[in-house]
């Protein structure tokens, strides 16, 4: 929190203000560009954008997690995994703050969406999304440390995922190329929160893919744990 305040000057309010500004400005512009009804598109974008922003922040943090874990080597009684736990907690707190900004926008534009929403389902979706990201934290840390060149392209990779995932555009726009959505795991993760908020329910495929991602992530973490531990101990010398 203190680091966030130091870098942004806003502290905990930063995610809230950022989403509020983005959703109102970018959402309105994109609704005009795509010729969408603003009272339909803005709620969609207001839910999608905070989820995306939190996801992308978590992945960026995980990509550099080994650097932070290395700082804790001087404290052998503390597990290096604390870095991922802190990132997971930050993810949930920041996402809730961003969601609060999104709810404010939706309340102003189309309050009937809020009346239909399944809030316990959305909270459960946020927790499952957090679990899926936590499960992949070690593999992401390993990948971006073992092949550090990839860190230079992280921004471009996230931008590519952002573009091919329905965040700025609604899924029904791609009827002829539906496979782009069907084979995109990020779509299902996003639907964990978007489904309950916009449709009032969680779709089973979304739940199944997310649980599968959790299991595969844990398995991959287990396989890579020792190799990643060596990367943490012996950093890049040059």
């Amino acid at each position: 929190m203190a680091e966030l305040r130091r870098s942004s000057g806003l502290g905990l309010i930063a995610p809230f203000v950022s989403v509020l500004a983005h959703v109102i400005v970018l959402g309105s512009v994109m609704a005009l560009v795509f010729g969408e009804q603003i009272d339909v598109f803005l709620p969609f974008f207001a839910i999608s954008f905070p989820v995306w922003q939190s996801f992308s922040n978590f992945v960026t943090e995980a990509a550099y997690a080994n650097d932070r874990t290395h700082r804790y080597l001087d404290f052998p009684r503390v597990s290096g995994s604390i870095v991922h736990l802190v990132a997971g907690l930050s993810f949930v707190i920041a996402l809730l703050l961003r969601a609060a900004a999104a709810l404010l926008v939706i309340a102003a534009i189309n309050p009937s969406v809020l009346a239909r929403a399944d809030y316990p389902g959305a909270v459960a979706g946020i927790l499952l999304l957090g679990a899926a990201l936590m499960a992949w934290a070690v593999p992401i840390a390993y990948l971006f440390d073992r092949f550090r060149l990839l860190r230079s392209f992280l921004g471009q990779m996230l931008l590519a995922v952002y573009i091919i995932t329905p965040v700025l555009w609604q899924p029904d726009r791609l009827k002829s190329h539906r496979w782009i959505i069907d084979w995109n795991p990020m779509f299902y993760l996003m639907e964990l929160v978007r489904g309950p908020m916009l449709e009032g329910r969680t779709a089973w495929p979304s739940l199944a893919v997310s649980l599968l991602l959790v299991v595969v992530g844990i398995l991959t973490s287990w396989l890579l744990f020792s190799a990643n531990r060596r990367l943490v101990i012996y950093r890049w010398m040059a």
């Binding site: 203190a2 001087d74 404290f75 052998p76 009684r77 020792s226 060596r230 012996y234 010398m237 040059a238």
Partner: protein, 249 residues
Amino acid sequence: MAPVFRQPAARHLPVDGLAKAPAVRIVNATVEIPLRGVAYVRGATQDSRIHRSGRQLVLRALSGISLEIGRGERVGILGANGSGKTTLLRLIAGMLPASSGEVVVTGTVSALITIGAGTVPALSGRRNAELRHALLAVRRLSVEDYVADVEAFAELGAFFDLPIGTYSPGMLSRLQFAMSTIEHADILIMDEWLGVADRAFQEKAHHRLMSLIERSEGFLLASHDDHLLRTMTGRVITLTRGRILGDAP
């Protein structure tokens, strides 16, 4: 990466029931450090400590070290830069794994190697002290008592509640020293004698260090200073190029 890096770190055992066991027992331990990102250059392997493992250059920082430190012993580690002193201390403290061999440490360890580790510039001295209490897993003192002790010892006044980014280097070293030297351990490890802040504080710090040494059951001090080691310890181990050259009282 080569399988030689798959060994675990030092085994740290509790003292209970092992009162007669040596504080530290190292049997034929070798520490190899992969030089990640360092491209092979002609002549690099002319130094016998550097060799290739596949495409990776590897530094053998410690080679076949065998050592036993009894309870109550005060041991100095003498050697030139790059001789492996800090690597040996980190190996004993459990911060670095051995590539081969065995390291068994009986009792708790307090390692004063990088006392600034774990501090966060955006947090105040008080919050950093709370964080350090958690990182060191201090059990003897509650977090309130620990922070009160740090506050009293560091004598930073109102600065204690300001971000440590606002501190002068001397103030920072006072805080780091105070946070690192509260809880005594069975084995105390130091990389060079800590000289901190101004003369008045140095005297206080010296007394605290001496008290920590007296209360510990094992003390290891690495230094270039032969005279300091002869004064502070009863046995001096000389390291050269990662090997023990001498071990004498």
